[in-house]
Symmetry: C2
Subunit: 249 residues, 2 copies
DNA sequence: CGACGCGTTGAGTAGCCTCAACGACAGTGG
DNA sequence: CCACTGTCGTTGAGGCTACTCAACGCGTCG
């Protein structure tokens, strides 16, 4: 079950979306993906305040991370997809700062924080690409900040759906306009700062206008151009500028 | 004017807030801080869409970065203080994704992106600390997301002020409860997703209740405990867990 | 002195929230 | 196989927060 060089893991696949890796670099990365483990749907993987000593590579499935306010209000911070390293944002802290739970059945590989050392030491190029991927995430947080700070309910919902679609396309370049969407409307609401009621209204309105269609746990984007325009969506993936990267080691 | 090892630059000072550096590491960092340049108040330093080929170390002064929506709505993304590297979030992109402008007179040192290579290559420890500092920023973006998504006007304003105060204390450990605050109420509003009117009301109310006081461009925090409680504020600075860091090179 | 930026205050409005009820559906246990 | 239960999404009524629009005072700067 230990990934070998010939079986491309989700993480390697994601990194190679940006940069062709050498065998040695793939090898370094695969050290993060030993010991995959299954988690079933709706399982809390990390609870806030526990020791932040390990990180996870998502091999398959969807997860969400979120924080709670003392009064129970919830903010969904991130959706984790295959290829994501989840727990990175707790790297600097002794305790985790948010909860992580599975939305679907998942396969995760855990690794300790110091497993990053060999990467930092072994390949400046890999370090640069990891750094860049973190900065892409940061750009996305900024985009979301803009969405939450300055956009209305419909725009927020649209933006979130487009962002999800874009992220899915990183690992599935052939993905069209239909995708699984295992979040409840309450999850979505907690992600974009609304209530489930407003999300329901917004989605209903968009379906009414023929912009999208829902069936089961799937979304069908019918008018992506309109959606991008409306939510002023910028795709942060697939634009990595590697011109400044160090030479291959 | 070129910083030497004996003159501690803002960046080195900030990094050393977390980690005692070796002479070699200080030397690596100081390479980012050559050629400081003056900028006067209210100057656009970076305009959105320009080539993202250089980054800046803030030596002195305050800056804000922000994005605009097509209709003119604005979202302030970040306040930059001395010691910050500004432009990092555009690292992965060919063009900058937001504007940066000075709020006060500033001194900035520019450096090209590939000036990071020697750091990645020269010190795994320095790489780890830079990585961690970026992740602290990310934790703060998540906190802000929670604020924007789930908190009301008063809570938002309080949170922003506390966060500003905390960041100032990183470089000025002796800082008490009074600090310069060169943002207009519109700047603050654009940072937390409100209007200047709501910010004015919120601040007025807080002053009324004796929680804080304003005079000139300064804020005096009178009841910090109450503020922390109300805004559920968590200080992300000064908790760096370096237990997993690589050994000194 | 006039122009402008900034902060304050008031009146009216709109968008989203709260509360609530209901139908559809899946999972569970008898 | 079928009631029972809980989750999820939808819809409606009413309320509240923050918004828009506007006027005004103050200080700064040309």
């Amino acid at each position: 079950m230990v990934p070998t060089e010939s079986v491309k893991s989700a993480l390697i696949q994601k990194v190679e979306h940006y940069l062709q890796l050498t065998a040695q670099e793939r090898n370094l990365l695969s050290q993060l993906e030993t010991s995959p483990r299954q988690y079933s749907r709706n399982t809390e993987v990390v609870s806030s305040g526990s020791p932040a000593d390990q990180l996870f590579v998502v091999q398959s499935g969807w997860l969400i991370s979120y924080t709670l306010l003392p009064d129970g209000r919830r903010q969904v911070l991130q959706i984790h997809f295959p290829g994501d390293i989840c727990g990175l944002s707790d790297l600097p802290f002794a305790q985790t700062t948010h909860e992580v739970k599975t939305l679907t059945d998942c396969t995760l590989s855990a690794f300790p924080r110091d497993a990053l050392d060999p990467i930092f030491r072994g390949s400046a190029r890999l370090t640069a690409v990891m750094f860049s991927m973190v900065m892409i995430d940061q750009a996305i947080y900024m985009d979301r900040l803009r969405v939450m700070g300055r956009m209305n309910a419909r725009e927020r919902v649209i933006h979130f759906l487009l962002s999800t679609l874009s992220r899915l396309r990183v690992l599935s370049p052939g993905l069209g306009t239909v995708f699984d969407f295992p979040l409840t409307q309450t999850d979505l609401a907690d992600a974009v700062g609304l209530t489930n009621v407003s999300v329901s209204n917004a989605l209903g309105m968009l379906q009414e206008k023929g912009v999208l269609k829902r069936s089961g746990g799937r979304i069908h984007v019918l008018n992506e151009a309109y959606m991008r325009e409306t939510a002023n969506f910028i795709d942060r993936y697939g634009e990595l500028d590697i011109s400044w990267f160090p030479e291959r080691a």
